[in-house]
Symmetry: C2
Subunit: 212 residues, 2 copies
DNA sequence: TTTTATACATGATGATTGTCATGCATAACG
DNA sequence: CGTTATGCATGACAATCATCATGTATAAAA
């Protein structure tokens, strides 16, 4: 009885504390559509970054929202589910990779620079700034909703590499691109999993030597 | 008071129910050391398989123990933590890869067959039977305790590839091995993440053509 | 102007999970 | 042979998490 009364009192105190008007809506409004769209974009960016850094299961919805500057509440006003966000994040991240590729100088020099940058120590150590494929590909295979967007953009990336950079021949361009991409992604993944710094760099360097 | 007494009664009933002798030890014994060692090995095998198939965070300790034919209880009689099991599983799985490599015919033909098998549709679709590197490398980088064992065995695998198979020259053997391994792992990871069957096979085929 | 739909903060919920606690029969050890 | 340490099953616990519920002010629609 004592305990029950105590609980009731505590609940009442909590309720009273919560009814300060500034607790609702951040103090104001139904938010303007422009701001809402911007927040949506911010969620996507933070999610993509955090997923790359910690993996899909290493980041909670709350953490993503907090990184965006919101609470966990409005998440479902923006996305249907965590898995839907994962799919959009991958699409978003790989689109950026595609843009970066197409923004590179379309020459042998541009290609060599791109490879060097991809297989650099800096990229290896870039927490959330790295390539979506290297960060998440082995998890994507277990996420049905994500495989579609991933496939879509990977195809575009292969095509962009084949047509944008010079290769030994027109006919070999696509195959060469696939080989280069596989080696680059594989090397980055292995190098990042390795604890031994010099060995990790050896992996990056050897693969780079094979490509430039 | 009423509630407290009720709880005590429920507890007593539960205790009484638990005191059926068949509830303990599966019916018997302090288990013979030989059987215990065998169970330890089974846990390791099931864990390695399940981790490869579902990822580290996709499998619970209980599931692993159940797959081994035990309950979750004795897990901590066998391993210090889930993370310690992850480390041992990776060591175990990569040791098998190493053994398979060294058991392959030490010739150009043996090498070509190994590559073909690695980049086959069957290997791509092999749920838990696949290569530890392709299955878990991108998660290992986020698991401090696992990186050490992984590094150790990856070094051994690179050395085994370089010394076991014929390469263009003695001096190039190590670099060639690293390049081949990176391309194979990268190709398998990308192919598995892709939803489109023909595209996945194209990735495997192009990389294979580059290696044999 | 009136009505409606929505983005937000707070809080709740049910499920999952890594780890620990307990009691016991007996193999291993001295 | 007597003692002890161990591997097991059952159960409990605290934490974490994805998702849902609620109340609100107001932008947007009518």
């Amino acid at each position: 009885m004592m305990i029950v009364m105590h609980n009731v009192l505590v609940s009442m105190m909590l309720i009273m504390n919560n009814v300060k008007s500034e607790d609702f809506g951040g103090g104001v409004m139904r938010y303007p559509a422009a701001e809402t769209a911007e927040k949506h974009e911010r969620i996507l960016n933070e999610a993509a970054r955090l997923f790359r850094e910690h993996g899909f299961s290493g980041v909670s919805v709350s953490e993503i929202m907090k990184a965006t500057g919101l609470t966990h509440g409005p998440f479902y006003n923006h996305f249907d589910s965590k898995e839907a966000l994962m799919a959009d994040s991958v699409l978003h991240g790989m689109q950026k990779t595609l843009d970066g590729l197409e923004g590179t100088e379309a020459s042998a020099k541009g290609k060599a620079e791109y490879v060097r940058r991809y297989l650099s120590k800096a990229h290896m150590n870039a927490g959330g700034g790295e390539c979506t494929m290297a960060a998440l590909a082995s998890e994507i295979r277990r996420e049905p909703q994500v495989k579609g967007p991933f496939t879509l953009r990977l195809k575009a990336i292969v095509e962009a590499m084949a047509s944008h950079f010079p290769w030994s021949s027109k006919r070999a361009a696509r195959g060469d691109s696939i080989r280069a991409l596989s080696a680059m992604v594989g090397a980055l993944i292995l190098a990042r999993a390795v604890e031994d710094g010099p060995f990790a760099e050896e992996i990056l360097n050897e693969v780079r030597k094979g490509l430039v």
